[in-house]
Amino acid sequence: MSMKEPVLLKRVGKMKNPASVEEYRQLGGFSAIQKAIEIGKDQILNEVDTANLRGRGGAAYPAGRKWRQLFAIEEGPKYIVCNADEGEPGTFKDKVLLAEDPLSVIEGMLVAGYLFDSPEGFIYIRGEYRAIQKVFQEAIDNACAAGLLGTDILGVKGFDYTIAVVSGAGAYVCGENSALLNSVEGKAGRPRVKPPHLAEVGLYSQPTLVNNVETFACIPVILNIGGQAFLEMGTEDGGGTKLVCLSGHIKNRGTYEVPLGTPLADLLYSEEYGGGTSSGRPVKFLHLGGQSGPLAFPEQLDGLYSYQGLADKGLAVGSGAIVVLDDSVSLVEYSKKVLEFFVHESCGKCTPCRIGTTRALELLDDFASDKAKAEDIDNLDTMLANINGLSACGLGQAAGVAVRTAIKHRKEEFSSAARG
């Protein structure tokens, strides 16, 4: 946990009881909701716009734009949903906020509740974090007891808002926002066909805001320091700091808060962050943003860790995961692991995703067992392109990204494995 003055992790590890409203207040908490009420709704939207906060779950959609779209809709009630289904392998940063500063997430959801006159917020926490759900529930109960959730919150007449914890139960696809809403409604978590957009037809077919845990935690920061100051912590194309998760063959594994725009090489090699590989062997490639993100090879690592900096190299921030793999790892073996994951997690609704991921994995098995022929490289790439193009939701659309970037940048490794 680096950075001289963290803003997202500033309370982490400093509270005896992370669910305590009193301790949260002593460390600057609940000043943002107070300020939000003072400055009014238009100004809240302006600050979030100015901050250029990009969605921290993976899609990087500007939060300001999402909030304005929902604000413009007249029908109600509107629901606030926090996506805490952190399931992208290599990602474990929302967990830190949920367990160690839950009230910062609650405060972000509270600002949204105020802005959209929402009666109720939901936080969908993955089933693997059952122990953390209890901490979060305790934080909600404490906030209720302190009059920060409930009716006439902070003395504002008609500001009635509660937050409920909903548990996931082991389904990666529920990280997709429309699947998540189905799951909150108590249905099987299969994605919906879009449009309509969730801002219009979301939870219980009502207008709905869905944001990631870290995105909500950024909201109090923006209101406290101002949108402009938040923007300046990052880069023009995305303000603020980002929680980054280093794992794999890296010496200092863990969650770090880094200003967007930090050189990517610093994240890997400086002692403040990754400290180089754990094995001392050279980095062969990185996997950025979870299993649905692209692989990054050494020749692409000379840029900045920012939305545009990575996009310029064909890469993406995604969830903030950086999995480091050294030169002991075979790309064919790695690709197999990625596809195994998607085979397991495909919900089965779209045929190209359900069957395509299985067929692609079989083809990768051929590469691993000397049965693949030279033309199978193109077959694999085409198959993955079709899965991406023909699936309805982000899971299928991203299932082939990692393997396709491997083929694009290291075709020779697949060629030398094509001995059939």
Binding site: A169, H287, A321, F341, E345
Partner: protein
């Protein structure tokens, strides 16, 4: 934990967890945790359907869709080894080998006393301490062969 739940006990758990469709996952997970075999049986599914005014088919669809909900009896301690890429390449396959040797069973098979079984699971969000084993809600990280041995001993003692 070890005895079968009565219908009244199950009803209490359902009521404690809200007894409405939105809470179905919380309800099923809580019933599973309290059950003798670590799973929700057909009788329990029928009761949930009745309480939530829905059909058994719909409850079963939910139970089968979500991988944390079991519909068949489980060992008392199911050791779940994360095998997503970050853990796999920090030696989670070795953990699987150690468990096979320590427990004397293959992946997916229960030990003869019904105490243990092990299997793979996708990412549990603890890649910073991989390789990891998850047992119920607890995650054990930075595993070595000795730590795996110790974990099994401790679980045996706590039974």
């Amino acid at each position: 934990m070890s005895k079968l739940l009565s219908e009244t006990e199950k009803t209490t758990i359902i009521d404690q967890n809200g007894s409405r469709q939105e809470n179905i996952l919380n309800i099923l997970l809580a019933l599973q945790e309290a059950s003798a075999g670590g799973y929700v049986d057909q009788e329990t599914i029928a009761l949930v359907a009745k309480k939530l005014s829905t059909t058994e088919t719909k409850v079963f669809e939910i139970a089968s869709f979500y991988s944390m909900i079991e519909t068949k009896p489980q060992a008392a301690y199911v050791l779940e080894v994360c095998n997503s890429a970050p853990c796999h390449f920090t030696k989670s396959d070795e953990v699987s080998g150690w468990l096979e040797a320590e427990l004397g069973v293959k992946r997916g098979e229960p030990t003869s006393d019904g105490l243990f079984s092990f299997r793979f699971t996708p990412c549990v969000g603890a890649c910073d301490v991989g390789p990891v084993i998850k047992v119920k809600d607890a995650v054990y990280g930075d595993l070595s062969r000795d730590k795996v041995k110790e974990l099994i001993q401790n679980l045996k003692k706590s039974k």
